[in-house]
Each structure stands twice: as structure tokens, then as C-alpha cells.
């Protein structure tokens, strides 16, 4: 049964790739990139051996915690990162939850991210090669660590799926927040305690070694340092974490089956209350802009991305205080500016077959593009100003505000320009509207990832003028250059957007029916 599910999954993947050369290229591109990262990581782990033991241990543990956290958090931030088996779709078959869990774990372990994680986890043995016992322990711990990563990501995906499909939105948000605090609490505490001591990194690593995320990574190092008792303690914590996650995941899956079909709860407004539609001009651009904005607020698949706006600066400021540097806060506004438009790189996929309405009403491609861009700018511009002011305010970098706003504005506008073009020709499988937004769609992961890389690359290339000016301004502390960066970011960004919208519109006029046909066939 498990083997049949695995075969099914690879068949789905092969069929998806067969049909779409672009997607196949994306997978190859993603795989190559993963290989490059792997080679660098393994080389790093091998070279690490020349450093003193505490540094080795700190690097392995902190790196391991970051990797584990990544697995846990990715289901919160991205849709369908893995081509996977949707438990809900399988629920009509007589399949035990245990088998389902085994199958889902194996599916995770047999795709690029899972394989890469396994390789890099086992490669930590290279760091401990001077102590054979620790090296062998590292191999075993690597396997366990990979399982913790995969099962952890399954668990968070399943939990958040249940939360989002729950009844009342406010309750969901509260539970989600509490869950996040519960997850991150121990790590935060360890970091805080570690920072108080004289040698922040090794001390932090030592504390992290006794948290759910870091325990398994610290076992070999503790053996190598000759602390078998500590190693056993960490191992116990890791195995307990593993067991607890399996139990929670199982309970969550069972709950999914119990509550399946539960809608988002009725929402009713009085007749005649048109919301934004009553305010915007009654043109296609006005209509599409208003609908985009409504969807950002009301569609969980978009609303989810808005979490980035507060979380990204918070994380970067935290990281800055961790490293005792201020510059990380400067990264927050441009990163938020880059990530928001990235959500739209295949925006028509989110319309799904409802896009047929735009075709049957004869909306011009350019109006579609302008409307969607306007819908995003309406909230992204104010959000960027707030993020810039807050981030720089925290580290006291007011003087650099023009440069940072200029860079961010440029990145936002050129990002929008890029996605205006990309989304006119790319559709990826996404969760359908109103369905669980965390339901992974087969074959979407690598395409999404690779297309995101491409869009990011083009965005950065387009934003080079303001990036160069802005960074120069920051480096030589020139107010004049900062203001210049702001002006260039606004003017050049706007110009790119105009071009992007025109080109994207022309492409969409041509490709619209083909996009709809593809979405209809992929079970739309």
C-alpha cells in the first residue's frame, strides 16, 4: 500500500512534468541549484574540522536548528512546496492513518529537499571525522534529524491546515500565534540565555542543544567533546520530540478526517453593501484592482503572505541583536518589497478557472495587469513606508531612510513589473479558492521555486540602478546620494512597471485562453 502510494506520487509527478517542458526545466534548474548548495555545505562541514571544537559544535548546531526551523516554517509561508499526497483526497480509501503517515514521510524523503537534507545531515560526520565514535553517531543522528525535519513540516502543515479551515477566524489566529510561540519559545530562550554569556555563539549552541530543534544536532559534538551524559540527554530530548511530533501529527490528521468538508463559516452582509466596488471607478481596471485588494484580505491564500510584513522585520531585527549588528534591520524593507510582488508571479493560478470571466467579458490584458498592480500598490506602498520607518527607527538609522525607501520602492515596482509579465504566461497548480490553502499540489514545488528564483533575479537586475545608488549612499553616508536613490527608485521603478504592464498585457491577450485551458485540465 505504501509502495503503491509512492508509485502514484511519482506517476503524478512524471505526468505533470511530461506535459510541461517549462516545469521540467524548472525542476532540473532547482535540482542543479540544490546540488551546488549541497557541495558548498559539505565542503564547509569538511573544512570545519580545522577549527576548535566549540566553533565546530556551534556551527553544526546553529546550522542544524536553522535547517529544522526552515522545514517547520516553510509550510506556513509557501504553498505546495512539496509535490505530495493529499490525505483528504485519499480518505475514501481504506487506508490506515499509520500507513498514510509512513507514505507521506517517504514522499518527503524521496524528493529533492528531503534527499538534500538527508545528505547534508549525514555529512556532519565529516566534521567529527577525527573522533570515529562521534562520526558514526553523526550518521545515525543525521537520519533522525532528517526524519524530524520531514515529520515536523508535515505536522505544522497539518496543524495549520486544520486551523485555517476552522470555524472562527479570530480563534484561528489566536491558536496559530500561540502555536508559533510554543514552537519558537525554547529557541528564543536559548538564544537569550546564550547571549548573556561571554562567548555568544558556543553558549547559544550549547543551550540550543537542549531544545527540541537543536538536540539531535548536538549529540555527535557532545560525544566528540567527551560529554557522553550530555549526549544522552540531548538524544533523549530529540527522540522525545520525534515521538511527540508523531503523536501530534497523527491526532491532527485524524481531526482533519473528522472535520472534512467544514467550510469557513457563513459571512453575510446586507444587500447593497458593495465594499470597495462602490468606491472605485466602474471600469475593468477599477474592478480588478478592487477585487485584488478584497482577495488580499479575504482569501487565505493571499492573506497568509501578509504575515511576512510584520514577521520579516521582526526576525531581522532579532537576528541583528543576536549578532550585535544593526545592518540586518536595513534588509527588512527591501526583502518585504521583493517578497510581496513575488506572491503574484503566477497570480492567474489563484483565479483558477474563474479567470474565464475575464476572458468571456473581453477584458484587455493591460487592464488586467494594471488592476492587479494597483490592488497591490494600494497596501504595499504604505506598508513599505511603515516597515522602513520602524526598522530604521529601531536601530536609529533615520538618516538612511531615503536610500532604504528608494531601494525598497524600486524593488517593489520592478518586482511588480516582472510578475506582470511572468504571470501572463505561467500557471502553477495551487490550492483552489476556498479550499485549504496549505493543500499541496502535485508537481508545483520546484516550478514555483525555480520561477520564484527567476523572478527574483530579474527583479534585482531591473532594480540595479537604485540598488547601486542606495548602497553607495549607505556606504559613504551620503544624504544626497540617498535622495538620489529615492528619486531613481521612484522614476525608474515606475518606468519599469509601465513597460512590464504593457508587455504583460500584450502577452496575456495572446495567452489567456491557453492559460484557462491548462487550468481546466489540471482539475480546475
Amino acid at each position: 500500500m505504501v509502495a503503491a502510494l509512492l508509485r502514484l506520487r511519482f506517476r503524478v509527478l512524471a505526468n505533470t512534468l511530461n506535459r510541461n517542458t517549462l516545469q521540467l526545466l524548472a525542476v532540473i534548474f532547482g535540482a542543479l541549484q540544490t546540488v551546488v548548495i549541497l557541495v558548498i555545505a559539505i565542503a564547509g562541514l569538511a573544512v570545519l574540522v580545522i577549527y576548535p571544537q566549540p566553533v565546530e559544535q556551534a556551527t553544526v548546531v546553529i546550522g542544524g536548528v536553522a535547517l529544522t526551523l526552515g522545514w517547520f516554517l516553510i509550510p506556513l509561508l509557501a504553498t505546495g512546496i512539496e509535490p505530495t499526497i493529499d490525505p483528504l483526497k485519499l480518505s475514501p480509501f481504506p487506508l490506515s492513518v499509520t500507513r498514510l503517515m509512513v507514505a507521506m514521510t517517504l514522499v518527503g524523503a524521496t524528493w529533492i529537499p528531503g534527499i538534500a537534507t538527508l545528505i547534508v545531515s549525514i555529512a556532519t560526520a565529516l566534521t567529527w571525522r577525527a573522533t570515529p565514535g562521534a562520526a558514526w553517531a553523526a550518521v545515525g543522528c543525521g537520519v533522525v534529524a532528517t526524519l524530524i525535519c520531514i515529520i515536523g513540516s508535515r505536522m505544522t502543515a497539518s496543524l495549520t491546515a486544520n486551523l485555517v479551515s476552522g470555524r472562527r477566524r479570530r480563534d484561528r489566529a489566536a491558536v496559530g500565534f500561540l502555536g508559533l510561540v510554543a514552537l519558537l519559545g525554547p529557541v528564543g530562550l536559548a538564544v537569550a540565555l546564550g547571549l548573556r554569556s561571554g562567548a555568544p555563539f558556543p553558549a547559544t549552541a550549547e543551550m540550543l542543544g537542549f531544545t527540541p530543534f537543536g538536540a539531535i544536532w548536538s549529540v555527535p559534538g557532545q560525544l566528540a567533546a567527551g560529554h557522553p551524559a550530555a549526549a544522552i540527554g540531548s538524544l533523549a530530548i530529540a527522540l522525545a520530540t520525534f515521538a511527540l511530533m508523531v503523536v501530534i501529527w497523527r491526532a491532527s490528521l485524524l481531526a482533519t478526517f473528522r472535520y472534512r468538508g467544514g467550510g469557513a463559516g457563513h459571512r453575510q452582509v446586507a444587500a447593497g453593501r458593495l465594499g470597495l466596488f462602490g468606491v472605485v471607478p466602474t471600469t475593468p481596471v477599477g474592478a480588478i484592482g478592487a477585487r485584488s485588494l478584497i482577495y488580499w484580505a479575504r482569501d487565505a491564500r493571499f492573506a497568509r503572505q501578509l504575515v511576512l510584513v510584520p514577521v520579516m522585520p521582526a526576525l531581522l531585527i532579532l537576528l541583528g541583536s543576536l549578532l550585535h549588528v544593526g545592518w540586518t534591520a536595513y534588509l527588512a524593507p527591501p526583502i518585504v518589497a521583493g517578497l510581496l510582488p513575488l506572491t503574484l508571479f503566477a497570480v492567474i493560478s489563484y483565479d483558477g478557472t474563474a479567470f474565464a470571466l475575464h476572458l468571456s467579458t473581453g477584458v484587455r490584458g493591460i487592464d488586467d495587469r494594471i488592476g492587479r498592480a494597483a490592488g497591490m500598490l494600494a497596501f504595499a506602498l504604505p506598508a513599505l513606508v511603515v516597515v522602513s520607518v520602524v526598522s530604521l527607527g529601531v536601530v536609529g538609522g533615520w538618516r538612511d531612510l531615503p536610500a532604504i525607501v528608494g531601494i525598497s520602492l524600486g524593488v517593489l515596482l520592478s518586482g511588480l513589473a516582472t510578475v506582470s509579465v511572468s504571470s501572463a504566461s505561467i500557471v502553477v497548480p495551487v490550492a483552489r479558492s476556498g479550499r485549504n490553502p496549505f493543500t499541496a499540489q502535485a508537481g508545483s514545488g520546484m516550478t514555483s521555486l525555480a520561477a520564484s528564483y527567476a523572478v527574483t533575479g530579474i527583479t534585482i537586475a531591473l532594480a540595479v540602478p537604485e540598488l547601486a545608488l542606495g548602497i553607495w549612499a549607505l556606504v559613504i553616508h551620503s544624504a544626497l546620494l540617498g535622495w538620489l536613490a529615492l528619486a531613481v527608485g521612484a522614476v525608474w521603478g515606475a518606468a519599469s512597471l509601465v513597460i512590464g504592464v504593457r508587455v504583460g498585457g500584450r502577452i496575456l491577450d495572446r495567452t489567456g485562453p491557453a492559460l484557462l485551458a491548462r487550468m481546466r485540465r489540471t482539475g480546475g
Binding site: L274, F277, I288, A354, S360, G362, G434
Partner: protein, 267 residues
């Protein structure tokens, strides 16, 4: 086969020279299968035209190509003389389209969705408001105007999609399976609306599985199977002396006179 063109039952307005919908050699292939195979079909202005066919006959593909949703591999489609694929905006202003098997923007309320559609046609605010009110009332959706479309039942979803197809006062309405999962009362109301629309000079093209309904409702009918039009003409000419269903089964074939396999029988 029976000749295609038969005189239109005199519409109230003067018949326009160009047919309401004129399809020539429309062809669509999906990989190795030909879903629609060089179909010619002429829908006279002012007719109530039924398109019937078995599952997978190519009805939806044909109507999608006729309304500008799916680009044909070959052939042309025009609405009152305007080519759908070379002048899409002008053509689509004349078409009201209810497509089958597509989602709606269901995070909007029913009223918002109709308004949205009206805005995509650049109608002015007062017109949209007035027509939305009328349509909600006609389709008995007033009570659900402020409910998200995602919370609608299948029948209500069909009705709101129909409202969206009518908001811009089209000349030709193309409805793919409009009665599927619609309750009998609403179906009768929808029929009244469509019949009134045809009496006032509009044209309706409707695809359906229900032979009975098509026979009663439509003055013209085309039977489509395996991507081809088997017969087309006035309903009376097509069905001859029998019912439309008899004629359909005779032409399409595939009727099995069996009681199903042994193991499925309970006695």
C-alpha cells in the same frame, strides 16, 4: 442527414442578415484526440437553439471556442457577423456566456460578483445597480445577495453565474448546462426569462443532457457526438415523428439493453 438550414420561426424584430452565431470548420485537438472535428453550425438570430450530445461529445469545447474561452486549432466563429477571435472585445459585448465547469470568484458576495462583471463591461454605476437588483430578484437570490458565493449551493452558484452572463444585456446568450443542479422552480423561472428574451429578439444557445427539456424549450436543435454535428435544424424537423430522445438514441447509438452484470443484481 437532415438539411441544416430551415426557416426561422419569424422573430418579432426583423431578422438580421448575419446569423446570431456562425461557426465554420471549428476544430480542437487535445493531443491525439480530436474533441471537435471541423464543425459548421449556424444559429439563426432570434432562435432558441439546443445543443445535445452524450458525455464527451465536445459540447463544452465547441461552446468555449464559440465564446472566446478556448482558441480553436482551425475554423472561425462569429457573433452577428463579428469575428470572435479577431475582434474579441466587440464580439464579447454581444455574448452572454455561462460556461460549464469553471469556478467563480467566490470570495465575493453574490451582489459583488454581478457588480464586478458589470464593471468589467464598463457599465456605469447606476445601470449596474439597477440591473443587479433586477437580476437578483428574477433569480430569487435577493436573500443571498450579501453572502459569499463560496457559501452558495450548486444551484445558487449556477443562478449567480447566469446573472453575470446577462448583466450587460447581450444579444446572444450561450449557456452550457444551465439547468444542472438547479431546482425545478428556479429552472422554470430561468426558462421564463430565456423565453421572454427570445421573444424580444434575443438568441439563446443552450447545451443540455435533458432531451425532454430541449424538445419543449428549443425551436432549433443540433445533435453533437464524437466532435461532429450529426444533425441540425428545427426541433420538429430533427425529431420527425418520434421524440427527440428517440432520434438522439437512434443517431448516437450506444444504448445497451441489459440489466447490468450479475453481481450487481440484488435478487
Amino acid at each position: 442527414m437532415t438539411p441544416t438550414s430551415t426557416p426561422t420561426p419569424a422573430p418579432i424584430t426583423a431578422p438580421t442578415p448575419a446569423p446570431a452565431l456562425d461557426l465554420h470548420g471549428l476544430t480542437k485537438r487535445f493531443g491525439a484526440t480530436t474533441a471537435v472535428d471541423a464543425i459548421d453550425l449556424s444559429v439563426p438570430s432570434g432562435s432558441f437553439y439546443g445543443v445535445v450530445g452524450p458525455n464527451g461529445a465536445g459540447k463544452t469545447t465547441l461552446l468555449s471556442m464559440a465564446t472566446g474561452l478556448l482558441r480553436p486549432d482551425a475554423g472561425t466563429a462569429s457573433v452577428h457577423g463579428v469575428d470572435v477571435w479577431s475582434d474579441p472585445i466587440a464580439a464579447k459585448r454581444q455574448i452572454g456566456n455561462l460556461a460549464d465547469g469553471v469556478d467563480l470568484f467566490d470570495r465575493l458576495t453574490g451582489e459583488q460578483l454581478i457588480t464586478y462583471t458589470g464593471m468589467l463591461f464598463s457599465l456605469d454605476r447606476a445601470t449596474i445597480a439597477e440591473r443587479t437588483r433586477d437580476l437578483l430578484q428574477l433569480l430569487d437570490l435577493e436573500g443571498s445577495a450579501g453572502t459569499l458565493v463560496s457559501d452558495y449551493s450548486a444551484g445558487m452558484t449556477k443562478k449567480i453565474a447566469l446573472a453575470c452572463a446577462l448583466i450587460h444585456s447581450p444579444r446572444v446568450v450561450v449557456l452550457d448546462e444551465p439547468f444542472e443542479s438547479v431546482d425545478p422552480v428556479s429552472a422554470a423561472n430561468i426558462r421564463d426569462i430565456l423565453e421572454g428574451f427570445v421573444r424580444s429578439g434575443g438568441t439563446v444557445v443552450v447545451s443540455s443532457h435533458s432531451m425532454d427539456l430541449v424538445q419543449r424549450m428549443c425551436d432549433h436543435v443540433a445533435i453533437v457526438a464524437r466532435g461532429k454535428v450529426l444533425v441540425a435544424g428545427t426541433t420538429d424537423a430533427v425529431r420527425g415523428s418520434g421524440t427527440l430522445e428517440d432520434r438522439f438514441l437512434e443517431l448516437v447509438g450506444g444504448r445497451r439493453f441489459s440489466e447490468g452484470p450479475e453481481w450487481l443484481r440484488r435478487s
